[in-house]
């Protein structure tokens, strides 16, 4: 039948196109987005012949390589691979670190299912990953049950190491509590009293808004909240939302958005001239992955906080990291790459310190572990397994060096100054 042949032909053409594309990474996309799907098939490591024989350390990564935040997942994977290429030169415990990775499609249920596969079937020694805070929380409770260490590297909800924290979960990302407090401290020094809070209606948005507001209220009791606006993630046009906020004439606005939504807010704020009239603070507003796609379309003067910028601090360590990353992936590293790079080094150092491929010993070794990161020494706090690292605050500004805006007037805040105390965290956990 000619009809069937025609259909077959169309599908064959499609498949051929698909194969051609997978064979050679698409040229139009920068290499950062080339997904490392060729999950290493060295999954069946030969069973140890003797108990003491070294076997590779196996790290399982569950992360998002499709859907809106795929850029973060790919960036993190690259950072992790870069670190492994350094670590595996000398090896760890007489062998090296291997990894397997799965795409969670930004769905918590898929993430949980993939985590189960990696732990039960692939028998990974350490699980890492997830952009999605909801996925991180779901995996966290499974990791706890299975007694497998799980390191969260992008998701920023403070619940991960806070209220829902436990022995088996770690975070190598700055969390919403830290970012909120850092932002609140900056805002408390300003004369604004009437605030509006707006953001994307999801875990991260609420977490960051609450943290910033609670801290601001504590630091400066006379601030008032004029109102709140929440839109759903992926909302394409924010003009009505921002118009309504402008109609309320607040002194300043705290936006709680992330990822693609962040780019949307900045773009709309610029188009409406909102950023010229009302001061704005957004955590990660100065993030390169947000500002880069906007080019000159980003608004100037937006206050932001960040734990990693490839151009700051201008230390030899950071420059070396940026150069190595740029050589390998021809784009500067973003914060996910930085987190993942640190995570790999944390894993390697902890296993070295533990001296054995043992999950419990690994956790003991992780607690209080300090490593040298591209931005200086960072520490895994023993009491809540939250990384202690500096945050940088600045405002967006045009930069002749780049085609996109960068942060200016940068100041560094020590991590320990903006973290909730161990007592506060443990109190939250017991509630």
């Amino acid at each position: 039948m000619s009809r069937k042949i025609f259909v077959l032909f169309t599908l064959l053409a499609l498949t051929a196109a698909l194969l051609a594309c997978t064979g050679a990474p698409p040229t139009s996309a920068p290499p950062t987005s080339a997904p490392a799907t060729s999950a290493p098939q060295a999954t069946t490591a030969p069973p140890a012949t003797t108990a003491s024989a070294a076997r590779p350390i196996k790290v399982g990564i569950v992360d998002t390589y499709s859907g809106p935040p795929a850029a973060f997942g790919n960036d993190a994977l690259n950072g992790f691979k870069l670190a492994l290429s350094e670590i595996n030169k000398d090896g760890v415990l007489g062998s090296n670190i291997e990894f397997v990775t799965r795409d969670d499609k930004y769905q918590p249920d898929t993430a949980l299912s993939m985590a189960k596969e990696l732990i039960l079937e692939e028998k990974v020694d350490v699980l890492v990953g997830t952009v999605n805070s909801a996925a991180a929380l779901a995996i966290s409770s499974f990791a706890k049950e299975q007694k497998v260490p799980y390191i969260v590297w992008i998701a920023k909800s403070e619940a991960i190491t806070g209220a829902k924290g436990h022995r088996y979960v770690f975070s190598t990302s700055e969390n919403s509590a830290m970012a909120g407090k850092a932002g609140a401290e900056a805002l408390a020094q300003k004369p604004y009293t009437k605030y509006w809070i707006a953001g994307e209606d999801y875990e991260y948005g609420h977490a960051i808004a609450n943290a910033a507001w609670d801290n601001l209220k504590a630091l400066k009791p006379d601030v008032t909240k004029a109102g709140e606006t929440w839109w759903k993630t992926g909302e394409p046009d924010l003009t009505p939302y921002l118009t309504a906020i402008m109609a309320a004439k607040p002194d300043a606005i705290i936006f709680a958005t992330g990822g693609a939504g962040m780019t949307n807010v900045l773009k709309t704020a610029k188009a409406m001239g909102l950023s010229d009239q009302i001061p704005i603070w957004i955590h990660t507003a100065i993030d390169t992955s947000v500002l880069k796609p906007l080019g000159a379309n980003a608004p100037e003067g937006v206050m932001g906080t960040m734990d990693y910028l490839f151009y700051y601090p201008e230390t030899p360590e950071n420059k070396a990291f940026v150069k190595a990353y740029q050589d390998a992936y021809s784009a500067p590293p973003g914060f996910p790459a930085f987190h993942a790079y640190n995570t790999a080094h944390f894993i390697a150092e902890a296993f070295k310190k533990a001296g054995a491929l043992d999950k419990e010993k690994f956790i003991d070794a992780m607690e209080g572990l300090k490593i040298d990161s591209p931005t200086g020494e960072i520490e895994m706090r023993a009491c809540d397994h939250q990384v202690v690292e500096p945050l940088f605050m600045g405002v967006t500004k045009k930069n002749p060096q780049f085609e996109f805006m960068t942060a200016s007037d940068l100041v560094s805040v020590a991590g320990k100054d903006v973290m909730p105390s161990c007592e506060e965290v443990l109190k939250k956990r017991s509630q």
Binding site: K4, L11, T15, K105, P108, K116, E121, A138, S141, H206
Partner: protein, 325 residues
């Protein structure tokens, strides 16, 4: 009674399969026990859809809503109240059935595509409520760490529990299809006008079918919550509904066991294909389109057709369906 409904050789085959499934946890690695549990839950979900879709000819485009409502009912009761676990597990299907009654009540006034589109809309409203009502449902976060009795938290315990519930439900669905109600439903599917003419209340029957399907969909949701001890708004998302439709198509929707096969294929594909490629949804898409063109009766339908052709029976599916009346 059973003998009158099923051929003995099918009974024997079912018995052997069940025995095999009972023995699996003694040898299989944990992960396979888990994946099999997922397949059972998904299969029940797909079969409950097939009840209205394949046997009722009703365009149930948003069946996942009932799945999600069942799962969320369990999660909310167990995390927000101090009621015992079995009450939560029992409540799930009934709340799902009630949701089915409300959505169905609006939809049965319409037919075919209009029905399906309206159901997608109403179902999306339920999804929006779950996704938006942060204080109660946890929004996009979902609900985790749902407390369950100790024996249900092991993979083996959950496996046997799920297997038992699914077998009972499948049995009930089978009896339903072979019952006079099931026969009427199939008659309505094949010729609604004639049924109306001989005095059957078509809307009434359709509504009951939707409520029953929602009930079993809710059971599947409850089982999901027991297995994963987490629930997510994605359980009510329309994309999942279409995936269930794909499972029914894949297995064959004029067959009773087809959706089981379809669910198994989709779950297995997701597990295996995602090891090798990030593009497994594309793989699913291509398989789906190939299927629509070359195997529209589904895998099971195809097999039945071949078997029937061998036996020289005319109109294979119709014979199978009509056997109850």
């Amino acid at each position: 009674m059973l003998k009158a409904l099923v051929e003995p050789r099918w009974l024997v085959a079912t018995g052997i399969i069940l025995l095999g499934l009972l023995l699996i946890p003694f040898g299989a690695p944990l992960f396979y026990i888990y994946i099999l549990s997922v397949i059972f839950v998904t299969a029940l979900l797909a079969m409950s859809l097939n009840l209205v879709l394949g046997y009722g000819g009703i365009y149930q485009f948003h069946h996942a809503v009932f799945y999600g409502v069942g799962a969320y009912t369990v999660a909310l009761i167990l995390t927000r109240t101090s009621l015992p676990w079995w009450i939560a597990l029992l409540a799930g299907p009934f709340v799902a059935a009630a949701t089915g009654l409300i959505i169905g009540w609006f939809c049965v006034r319409l037919t075919k595509l209009y029905f399906g589109m309206l159901q997608i809309s109403l179902g999306s409203l339920v999804w929006i409520i779950v996704y938006r009502w942060y204080d109660v449902t946890g929004g996009d976060n979902g609900i985790h760490d749902i407390p369950m009795p100790e024996w249900l938290t092991t993979f083996q315990g959950a496996y046997y529990f799920i297997l038992a519930v699914v077998v009972v439900c499948v049995g009930l669905m089978f009896l339903l299809i072979k019952s006079p109600f099931g026969a009427t439903l199939q008659a309505i599917r094949d010729n609604p006008q004639r049924c109306e003419a001989i005095g059957i209340n078509v809307r009434h029957h359709k509504l009951i079918a939707i409520v029953i399907a929602a009930f079993f969909g809710g059971v599947a949701g409850v089982l999901f919550a027991t297995l994963e001890r987490s629930v997510f708004p994605g359980l009510l998302f329309w994309v999942l509904s279409l995936e269930i439709l794909v499972m029914c198509l894949l297995g064959g929707w004029f067959t009773f066991a087809g959706p089981i096969l379809g669910a198994a294929i989709v779950v297995a594909l997701r597990t295996v294909a995602s090891r090798y490629t990030d593009y497994w949804t594309m793989v699913l898409g291509i398989i789906l389109i190939l299927l629509i063109f070359f195997l529209p009766e589904g895998v099971m339908g195809f097999i039945q057709e071949r078997v029937a052709a061998k036996n020289k029976a005319p109109h294979p599916q119709r014979v199978e369906e009509g056997s109850g009346s």
